[in-house]
């Protein structure tokens, strides 16, 4: 019994120590902004790697999720003779919830894991150490551009996801199932509020972008520099990011839409 309590205590202390290291790491990265002449080209390169290369999976997923929403929405709403509200349902679902959350989960799986593996490998092959020994701070040179690229990319990807999803829903609802096109767009326009819905969804994706990028770069930087260590860090990135996104989504939704 005492052993179990001791083990629990040790685990708790490890978690707190890890959180402390992650916060210290974040302060080092955020505080060490490189000069614009140096940092901007590095940021653009990472925006391409993290953001542009994630476009394909985000667009395809957005399209199919929009189409599924159209199909399910039509089936349910037509029971009540309300199929004209399908545009409203798809847009609100996507803008408020699915676009920020699913884009963040996809981002963690594609870009987050790649960031962790890349940084972990740089650590294992002593590239980060050699940078330090050359008088170059890897937090500024390697980590900061990747963190900011994730932070900037995810809100844009989430918006693209929502737009493509709405279009996918229209393909199914309007083009296939025959909902009147004017009702689809008109109901959407009348019910989606820019501040309450679009802006709140955007705020969610900004928070998710920051958290996912932070987890990804920290796991890479803090990993044990072996193949097993990198593999474990990559897994942790996906798991922790997914849990953080889902947990934070509940908190943010409660704050934004809870009407407390």
């Amino acid at each position: 019994m005492m052993d179990r309590i001791a083990a629990l205590g040790r685990t708790g202390l490890d978690v707190i120590a890890s959180l402390g290291r992650a916060c210290q790491f974040l302060a080092g990265v955020v505080g060490g902004v490189p000069k614009p002449s140096v940092g901007f080209p590095l940021l653009v390169k990472q925006l391409y790697a993290v953001g542009v290369l994630s476009l394909a999976i985000v667009v395809v997923s957005g399209l199919f999720i929009g189409m599924v929403l159209g199909l399910q929405g039509y089936t349910i709403l037509s029971d009540f003779g309300s199929e004209a509200a399908i545009g409203q349902m798809i847009a609100l679902t996507l803008v408020r919830e699915l676009a920020p959350v699913v884009a963040a989960l996809l981002f963690a799986g594609r870009a987050g894991s790649a960031l962790t593996a890349e940084i972990g490998l740089m650590k294992a092959t002593e590239q980060l150490s050699s940078m330090e020994m050359m008088g170059v701070d890897p937090l500024r040179r390697v980590i900061a551009p990747r963190l900011w690229a994730g932070f900037i990319s995810l809100p844009i990807l989430a918006m693209i996801f929502a737009v493509v999803g709405v279009w996918g829903g229209m393909l199914v609802g309007v083009e296939w199932l025959g909902v009147y096109e004017g009702s689809y767009w008109g109901n959407m326009q009348a019910s989606v509020d820019f501040v309450d819905d679009v802006l709140n969804g955007l705020i969610k994706s900004v928070v998710f972008g920051f958290v996912c990028a932070w987890i990804a770069v920290y796991q890479g930087y803090d990993c044990v520099p072996t193949s097993a260590g990198i593999s474990s860090a990559t897994t942790k990135t996906v798991v922790y990011s997914s849990l953080a996104v889902l947990g934070l989504d509940f908190v943010l939704t409660a704050v934004m839409f809870g009407n407390f």
Binding site: V38, T125, E126, Q127, S129, S130, E132, M133, M134, G135, V136, D137
Partner: protein, 270 residues
Amino acid sequence: MASSAYISLNDVVFSRSGRRIFDGVSLDIPKGRITAIMGPSGTGKTTLLRLIGGQLRPDSGQVVVAGREVPKLKRKELYLLREKMGMLFQSGALFTDLSVYENVAFPLRVHTRLPEDMIRDIVLMKLEAVGLRGARKLMPSELSGGMTRRVALARSIALDPELIMYDEPFAGQDPIAMGVLVKLIRDLNSSMGLTSVLVSHDVPESLSICHYACIIADGKVIGEGTPDELRAHPSERVQQFLKGQPDGPVPFHYPNNDAASDFGIRGGGA
């Protein structure tokens, strides 16, 4: 020692994961000379280089480089001091997304505001010095192990440092590559007036080029001096290491139980 000390370690104690790596190591590394630090695997030779470079901090004791106490330096001061240091890592540690040329140009681009044509001239000169001017367009993945280390060497001397540290430069090299590296280390040291610290357990190669050597074992310096002084050192431990004897003060067998009880002889069978 004839030359004044460029690096001084005074009573350095360092532990990691509950294990004491150094237990009061004191060592002076002379300026403008090649100093070899040797010792069995796992004795903390690379750790010693990281202490000198400020990547690790000792639990106690002093690490002084060029008159500055490294563990007490602020981050900015430490990075400025590191601009005077070059380090050749065991793996080479080339940036895999940059070509050979860009790897060597990297420290110049980061730390200087030289025009591009001057950077080009310096990079080609450094690559010429290591015999790889013709390989400047290759990527690190296209290089052999020996070539990787030569490119890494060119990169580490790009800023004309005062100190260069070599971490196991000969490990895993074929005889030709090893000969090339031995020649390069000797020539660079004499032509650039560098202070060189060479960490290795390749005894003949290290002793053939160093001016001064020390052997570390069990967290302490067990022998130091010129190569000739070391060869004549009275310590059995030093002689076992230098001659590569399989048994001696460092036993062949890992500490274990009585063999008879392990094989179940006294107990009457397994």
